[in-house]
């Protein structure tokens, strides 16, 4: 087990199907994936566990993902936390806005299968 496998990854996603899917794939690769089912919960959990990497959905029922991103990034503990926006929303200027708000990367979910997402997450953790 490499050093990275101990690192904390938090998935903030309100769709249960996706949480289920990513949870299984990450554990298949030896990662323990922390999960939050909405924006508010995500903020609370990230404060609690101080993850190394956050995979953040944008379109959620309770909160706008961009607000979640800004909120977490404004916290001291999250100074070195890599937050990757993982969404299906492609909107002109949105990626730029996310990145300028502190997002480490911007992924379109439907373009990647879960395995590829895991590989990407590994890359982010190594960097």
């Amino acid at each position: 087990m490499s050093k990275d496998k101990n690192k904390k990854i938090l998935l903030i996603e309100d769709d249960p199907s996706q949480r289920m899917m990513y949870d299984l794939e990450f554990s298949n690769f030896g990662y323990k994936l922390d999960m939050a089912s909405g924006g508010k919960e995500g903020i609370r959990v990230s404060k609690e566990i101080k993850p190394d990497l956050i995979l953040l959905d944008l379109v959620m029922n309770d909160m706008d993902g961009l607000d979640v991103l800004k909120e977490i990034k404004s916290q001291k503990y999250a100074k070195d936390t890599k937050i990757v926006v993982m969404t299906n929303l492609t909107k002109k200027g949105l990626e730029k806005e996310c990145k300028s708000s502190g997002a480490y990367d911007y992924i379109i979910k439907s373009k990647f299968i879960p395995k590829e997402i895991v590989k990407k997450a590994e890359k982010y953790l190594k960097k």
């Binding site: 769709d15 899917m21 299968i113």
Partner: protein, 712 residues
């Protein structure tokens, strides 16, 4: 002797010329002034022919006639003094008759044998006078003095150019009287007759004064004639002097005009003369222009004016020029120019009543109107038939109109030039008419051009306005199009999101299954999840299609009376299962009978289903309640849930096409963004229909109301 004859002949010619000129006009002053001239001629003529006659009887009669001359001149001058500057008898009818009586007495006493003149002297060049000569001279001097005094009085009472003219009249007459009286009366009393020719000749000086003063009126006709007289006189004088100079030179120094020296000298002189003559001609022409026209001659004035009129394009400028020239050339202050454009009269300058112009424009019964429109020619008051046109003359007099010159362009009267009396009270002469004819034609063209120019200008302005309006329209349309385009792109953004979300799950699940990443005991769970997402996908596709179908302003649905109760029952059957699956209670609170509503079953089912779906989606626990209310021609369907509620910030946007907040990602995860939009479109197609949130509290629940019209 020869010199006397030349001078006297000149006097006669000039006077006859003057008489001819003055004959044309017709007012009291001119008529009286004519007598001054006749007087001068009567005075001159006997003296001129005196030495050619040796019959003493005829000479005696000639002598008497010659005495009448100064009397007539003197008397006429008195009358001129009374009438000038205004042709109104200043001293009334009595003075007129009284002075005429005295004049008659003067004439009569010369006819009393031996009273004034006894006989022709022995030598045939003198007249033996009687006692009456003193009375006669007294009458002449009285008239002369009276006129001089009147001139002086009037001089102090008048202003402007009248004063100026009075001055000339006074001095002209004064000098004539002094010299004439001395040469003719005083010397005659001393029996000296060799200077008698000076009397009438000196009146030339007087005529010169009068002419000059009159020409300063800028009285066109007189000015022209005076300048011609001046021109020919100077040229004749020059030639005369030159000729005699050469003649005497050749006779005295070169041995006669026919000597060979003279002939060759004459040739040289002829060349010099030709050269000098041209120069003199030019010089005289110029100085006569300067003297009489202040540097202009009539042809040049007209040419200049025409040129100016044709280059000026602004109406006001043209009129300004016209007024100026009329005042200068015709010497009238009462000028009105009326321009008719689009059945509206426009009056410029002048003092006449506005009513007149209106009449001239539209009143076809107006006598002036009739005449002008019939003849389309210059209307001159004094040329009208005094019996036939009596009405017209009266009408013209009422408005102080002397001349009306229609401005005719393309055989259409576009305006009128209305002229009043001349400042001098003189009548208009032929030169004036010619000037008017030329100018009115030119002015008509110029004015029409100006009007056209103005119209074009206005048209341009209107055009610019229209262009601006249309540009504004286009800009508005562009704005709307741009908004529409923005909406389209949003639509695509959200639609693609709604499509990708289920796809990402289906794709993910399938890829994991393929790779064997899903353990057997969880396979069922994963497959169900993928399947459910595929249903969702289909739903999204349907909604996108429906949304695009409705995304036009012209969206209409066919409304018919339908039974809401049966619709609700069908939906209840359907959705109750879904609610039960989620552990929710689905309550309906419906009456047994409901009046029919105006709606469309297919569409209204979609709306209600959506509302209930939403409620179920956002209600984690508790219940959904359906109830119906009847309110004033409407049915209200209430969908109440105990769900999460809608955050306040989302409320205003809820029914926007793609509800989104400030951060651009407020998309309803399940596609209700599209759903709400569709709902709103459908409800809007119902007259008076409404869908709105009656009440919402976060974590307490929401009540949605659907208001639909009853069938009539």
């Amino acid at each position: 002797m020869a010199f006397t004859n030349i001078i006297l002949t000149l006097v006669l010619i000039i006077n006859t010329f003057f008489l001819y000129m003055l004959n044309k006009k017709d007012n009291d002053l001119i008529r009286v002034f004519r007598f001054v001239n006749i007087g001068i001629i009567i005075w001159t003529f006997p003296i001129l022919i005196w030495f050619f006659i040796d019959n003493k009887k005829i000479l005696f009669i000639l002598g008497i006639i010659a005495y009448w001359g100064p009397l007539l001149v003197s008397y006429s001058m008195f009358r001129v003094a009374c009438l000038f500057p205004v042709a109104k008898n200043l001293f009334g009818q009595k003075t007129k008759i009284f002075s005429f009586c005295i004049f008659l007495i003067g004439i009569l006493i010369t006819l009393i044998p031996g009273f004034v003149l006894k006989e022709v002297g022995d030598y045939g060049y003198d007249l033996v006078t009687g006692v009456g000569i003193y009375l006669f001279f007294l009458i002449v001097i009285l008239f002369a003095l009276a006129s001089l005094i009147i001139f002086v009085i009037k001089y102090f009472k008048s202003q402007g150019f009248y004063k100026y003219q009075l001055k000339y009249l006074f001095f002209g007459f004064f000098i004539s009287i002094v010299i004439g009286f001395t040469s003719n009366a005083v010397l005659a009393l001393l029996n000296t007759y060799s200077f008698v020719w000076i009397g009438p000749s000196i009146t030339l000086l007087f005529i010169g004064f009068v002419t000059y003063s009159v020409t300063r009126y800028r009285f066109m006709g007189v000015r022209l004639i005076a300048s011609k007289i001046f021109f020919y006189f100077i040229i004749a004088l020059f030639s005369y002097i030159f000729f005699y100079f050469v003649y005497f030179f050749e006779t005295w120094f070169l041995g006669g005009v026919l000597s060979s020296q003279s002939l060759s000298f004459g040739f040289v002189i002829a060349i010099i003369f030709a050269f000098v003559f041209l120069k003199v001609l030019n010089f005289v022409q110029k100085s006569s222009d300067t003297l009489f026209y202040k540097g202009y001659n009539p042809r040049r004035i007209i040419k200049d004016l025409v040129l100016r009129l044709s280059t000026v394009i602004k109406l006001n400028e043209i009129l300004k020029q016209l007024f100026k020239e009329f005042k200068n050339i015709l010497a009238t202050d009462e000028v009105d120019v009326v321009i008719f454009s689009n059945n509206k009269e426009k009056k410029y300058s002048g003092t006449r009543e506005k009513k007149l112009f209106k009449n001239l424009l539209i009143n076809s019964k107006d006598v002036i109107y009739k005449k002008i429109y019939k003849e389309k020619n210059i209307l001159v008051k004094v040329e009208l038939d005094k019996e036939k046109d009596i009405k017209l003359i009266k009408e013209l007099e009422k408005h102080d109109i002397e001349i009306i010159a229609p401005l005719v362009s393309h055989n259409k009267i576009i305006g009128l030039l209305i002229l009043g009396k001349k400042i001098s009270q003189d009548a208009y002469n032929q030169e004036d008419f010619e000037f008017l004819e030329i100018i009115s034609t030119q002015a008509a063209t110029a004015i029409e051009n100006a009007i056209l120019y103005k119209e074009v200008e206005e048209f341009n302005k209107n055009l610019q306005k229209k262009v601006d309006e249309q540009t504004f329209d286009i800009r508005e349309k562009t704005d709307r199009l741009q908004k529409l385009l923005a909406m389209r792109s949003e639509f695509l953004d959200i639609a693609s999101h709604q499509l990708r979300t289920p796809v990402s799950v289906i794709k993910g699940v399938l890829s994991m299954m393929k790779e064997g990443s899903v353990p057997d005991d969880r396979k069922q769970e994963f497959i169900e999840s993928a399947l459910s997402k595929s249903f969702k996908l289909e739903e999204v596709i349907d909604e996108i299609l429906r949304a695009s179908e409705m995304d036009s302003d012209k969206f209409e649905i066919d409304l018919e009376p339908i039974d809401l109760l049966s619709v609700l029952k069908a939906i209840y059957e359907d959705k109750n299962v879904l609610a039960k699956d989620k552990g929710l209670k689905f309550l309906v609170n419906l009456p047994k009978k409901l009046p029919k509503i105006m709606s469309n079953e297919k569409y209204i089912k979609h709306v209600i289903r959506n509302l209930i779906n939403n409620s179920i989606q956002y209600t984690p626990k508790g219940s959904i309640t359906l109830s119906v209310k009847k309110i004033k021609g409407f049915l209200e369907l209430h969908v109440k849930d105990t769900g999460i509620g809608i955050p306040k910030k989302n409320l205003p946007h809820l029914f926007a096409k793609f509800s989104r907040g400030k951060n651009a990602v407020d998309v309803y995860t399940d596609g209700s963004g599209l759903g709400l939009f569709i709902m709103k479109k459908i409800i809007d197609a119902h007259p008076g229909g409404k869908v709105y949130i009656k009440e919402t509290k976060v974590n307490k629940g929401t009540t949605m109301v659907l208001k639909l019209p009853l069938a009539k």
